[in-house]
């Protein structure tokens, strides 16, 4: 069964301060990706390369937290254009690995990365400061501290089956309640 493009619900995905692992997990739904492609129109996502929203979306999946001003801007655009926003994975829900820097002052982080780190070679002695580079936030924020988030899917990354179950439920208008088996990791 196939649905006309334009009548299928649109979804959008993005990776903010994440590692794309959650997107890899989404691709791990294997052959169900074909089913997904029939169910939805992927409007804006790293896999379709659209830069800005051109239409309202039913569901937005967010990977990663916010570590810089551009993340915040992107996340806010997602909030403005998506009916339902889902934090996917531990970085989006809690800050995750990038949030390890939250206990270290920003200057120390930059010094360590660009000036004094044991494997750093930087003859200019400058911390990258091109105006094009987005400004870093004082700490890494989980998404729900920046905009309201409707659902959280835990995991690093969430298993493909969990993502599939969540997306299916959302698209059919149900409350996504994931069974324990999809949320246990040992």
């Amino acid at each position: 069964m196939s649905t006309e493009a334009g009548t299928r619900p649109r979804i959008a995905t993005v990776s903010l301060a994440g590692c794309f692992g959650c997107h890899m997990s989404l691709l791990d739904i294997d052959e169900r990706i074909l089913e997904l492609a029939e169910l939805v129109e992927i409007h804006k996502s790293p896999i379709v390369d659209r830069k800005t929203f051109a239409a309202r979306c039913a569901v937005g999946l967010i990977e990663g937290g916010c570590c810089n001003a551009e993340n915040v801007e992107t996340l806010r655009a997602f909030r403005d254009h998506c009916d339902v926003l889902v934090s996917v994975g531990d970085c989006a829900t809690m800050g995750g690995i990038p949030a390890l820097r939250n206990r270290v002052p920003l200057k120390e982080c930059l010094d360590e990365a660009y000036l004094s780190g044991p494997s750093t070679v930087n003859p200019t002695g400058r911390i990258p400061d091109d105006p094009e580079l987005p400004l870093l936030l004082d700490r890494v924020y989980p998404c729900h501290e920046v905009v309201p988030i409707d659902y959280h899917v835990p995991g690093c990354p969430p298993p493909a089956d969990a993502l599939w179950a969540a997306v299916q439920a959302l698209l059919s208008g149900e409350d996504p309640v994931l069974p324990y088996a999809l949320l246990k990791y040992d």
Binding site: N68, L136, V147
Partner: protein
């Protein structure tokens, strides 16, 4: 090596088993300003413990440190009541006079300035502990005087200028602390009949003594109100080669100071209660766990024990009763609120960090060193002695059906006569406010931060297990006080005192701090209120011990009685979270990038 000999000497004095660790560590801390890694290694070797165990112990108690502190440590009490009474000015004066900030030591290594939760002087706040010396009624002038005196003689005991009332003047106490015994009741603070309680007990069988306590329907005075007779019976029937009676003198609930006054004025009564318990339960050993903040009472209490031994009220064949041996040993705390919880207290006595144990087994079955143990509050033991003296009926006549007898209240905050009030259970809050000059209060916190916030409509409520259960703390807030500030203060307290063992409490107490900060700064939205409530409820239902289970109470009971404090003007959740401020959060990065590129 002389250094190691010092540990040997302490081991010879205090013992070579882990329970001696507290005394050894406290002595080393006092003499050397820290318990250094080298000392920890030596202690571990002598007590046959692991270095990690000794290190965990030192790390747990706030009066013990691995890093050197000054020869004198000034601990400013930063409880909510102290903050109401001018803590900020006192702290600023100390910081200025010493030239260091809180948490630092003067460059000459002489004085460390730090803060500590409630030290049991809320009725004479702001207060501090300087060394072991409690210093009440601080002001900025007094702070400057203290610093200049200490610079001259470096002896905290010489700061004692005008001694307090009653036994605070005892040569072994010599303290500036005041009892403020505003309303001594006729029961607990009634006349002393030394030896009478034990004599009465010895005329009965142990089971008759337990039955007497049951008939009196005595319930524990620490706050939880467990029936004492039942606790005793469980301990009595439990099998064990040894049994222990432990007196819990670790009142740490902010705003509570009744035990300090009882210990100062009625120590004999407390020890008599322990001795009666020893007889009833078949225990020969008693431990008296004294909070580190009350170390100044230790010599006095040791003397009380010594005199009782001399008079045949402790020791072998007590009052001539062949085979009834019972003695009491004082054990010290070292600055941990959690140790007021009975299983944490037992861990502390055993030379371990004072975190709570899983229950069951309960102490009645497996307590100190795994032996059946009854842990009772100071005031409970006082009641025991008086019940024996006057009979169960006299006691049960006072109070209500489920709350018999009297309750000693510690009243502080915005009232004209803060201090100790012994009232029959069932007394209304209104009556307490009238007695203590707290009429017109805007709010009263009953039972400390883990208790209940009561608004003026609730002032007709009664002090009783049936209604407002309390370990004794009554903190009065005037109508103009910002309760959000108080809430934040108590949130700081729980976050500081959480032992970190279980995640809900370790993380939850900090999340509550963060949420409340947003409310105070006016950056909260409805989502924050939902989050705050969720965290508070999670703490209540999933924490391992009483600390975490009650740490959400201030928030939850505030919402019941003072919902406007958190709800007023709270915006609904829009498409942005109110608490997040993009400009503020990039300000640091912008500054680092310098003026060239903006």
């Amino acid at each position: 090596m002389t250094a190691a000999t010092e540990v040997d000497r302490l081991v010879a004095t205090h013992g070579s088993e882990p329970p001696a660790l507290m005394d050894i560590a406290r002595d080393i801390q006092a003499a050397e300003g820290c318990v250094s890694p080298e000392r920890q290694r030596q202690i571990a070797e002598r007590l046959d413990m692991r270095i990690a165990e000794v290190r965990a112990f030192v790390g747990f108690y706030s009066f013990l440190t691995e890093e050197p502190q000054g020869s004198i440590v000034i601990r400013l009490c930063d409880d909510v009541v102290d903050r109401m009474k001018g803590f900020d000015r006192v702290r600023d004066a100390f910081e200025e006079a010493l030239g260091v900030s809180v948490g630092e030591t003067t460059p000459d290594g002489a004085i460390t300035l730090t803060t500590t939760p409630c030290i049991g002087l809320s009725d004479q706040a702001p207060a501090a502990l300087i060394g072991d010396v409690p210093v009440p009624f601080l002001s900025s002038d007094r702070a400057r005087d203290i610093v200049s005196s200490l610079r001259v003689h470096a002896d905290p005991t010489r700061l004692v200028t005008r001694m307090g009332d009653g036994k605070n003047r005892h040569p072994l106490v010599r303290s500036m602390v005041r009892n403020n015994l505003e309303r001594p009741g006729t029961f607990i603070f009634g006349p002393e009949y030394r030896g009478e309680a034990i004599r009465k007990a010895l005329s009965m069988t142990p089971f008759e003594v337990i039955r007497t306590i049951k008939t009196a329907r005595l319930r524990g005075r620490g706050g939880a109100g467990f029936p004492t007779g039942m606790k005793w019976e469980f301990t009595r029937v439990a099998r064990g080669a040894r049994k222990f009676i432990v007196c819990n003198a670790d009142e740490g609930e902010p705003g509570t100071f009744k035990d300090r006054v009882i210990l100062t004025e009625l120590p004999d009564r407390v020890i008599a209660g322990m001795t009666v318990a020893g007889y009833a339960l078949g225990a020969r050993e008693g431990l008296f766990y004294l909070r580190g903040e009350y170390a100044y009472l230790r010599p006095y209490l040791e003397d009380v024990l010594e005199r009782r031994r001399a008079d045949g009220l402790l020791g072998r064949d007590i009052l001539g009763k062949r085979g009834f041996d019972f003695d009491v040993e004082i054990r010290m705390g070292a600055g941990s609120y959690l140790c007021g919880e009975e299983t944490a207290l037992l861990n502390s006595c055993e030379g371990r960090p004072g975190d709570a144990r899983d229950r069951p087994p309960f102490p009645a079955e497996s307590g100190y060193l795994g032996f059946p143990t009854s842990v009772n509050n100071v005031e409970t033991l006082c009641c025991v002695a008086k019940i024996l003296e006057h009979g169960a009926a006299t006691f049960a006549e006072l109070g209500l059906q489920q709350s018999t007898g009297t309750k000693v209240l510690s009243v502080s905050g915005d009232c004209t006569r803060p201090g100790i009030y012994e009232v029959p259970f069932g007394t209304t809050l209104e009556a307490v406010l009238e007695m203590s000059g707290g009429e017109g209060a805007g709010a009263v916190l009953v039972g400390g931060p883990s208790g209940t916030w009561v608004n003026p409509e609730g002032f007709g409520r009664r002090i009783a297990f049936e209604d407002l259960a309390t370990g004794g703390a009554i903190v009065v807030f005037g109508p103009d006080r910002d309760l959000l500030v108080a809430l934040e203060g108590y949130a700081d307290f729980f976050a500081e005192e959480s032992c970190g063992y279980c995640t809900p409490c370790r993380v939850g107490t900090q999340l509550i701090q963060r949420y409340l900060q947003r409310f105070r700064e006016g950056r909260a939205d409805q989502g924050d209120l939902d989050g705050l409530l969720r965290v508070a409820r999670t703490l209540k239902t999933t924490s391992r011990c009483g600390l975490g289970q009650t740490a959400g109470n201030p928030v939850l009971t505030t919402l019941q009685s003072f919902s406007q404090v958190l709800e007023a003007g709270l915006p609904a959740v829009g498409t942005r979270r109110a608490a997040f401020d993009l400009e503020a959060s990039v300000a640091g990065a912008r500054a680092l990038r310098g003026g060239d590129h903006v």
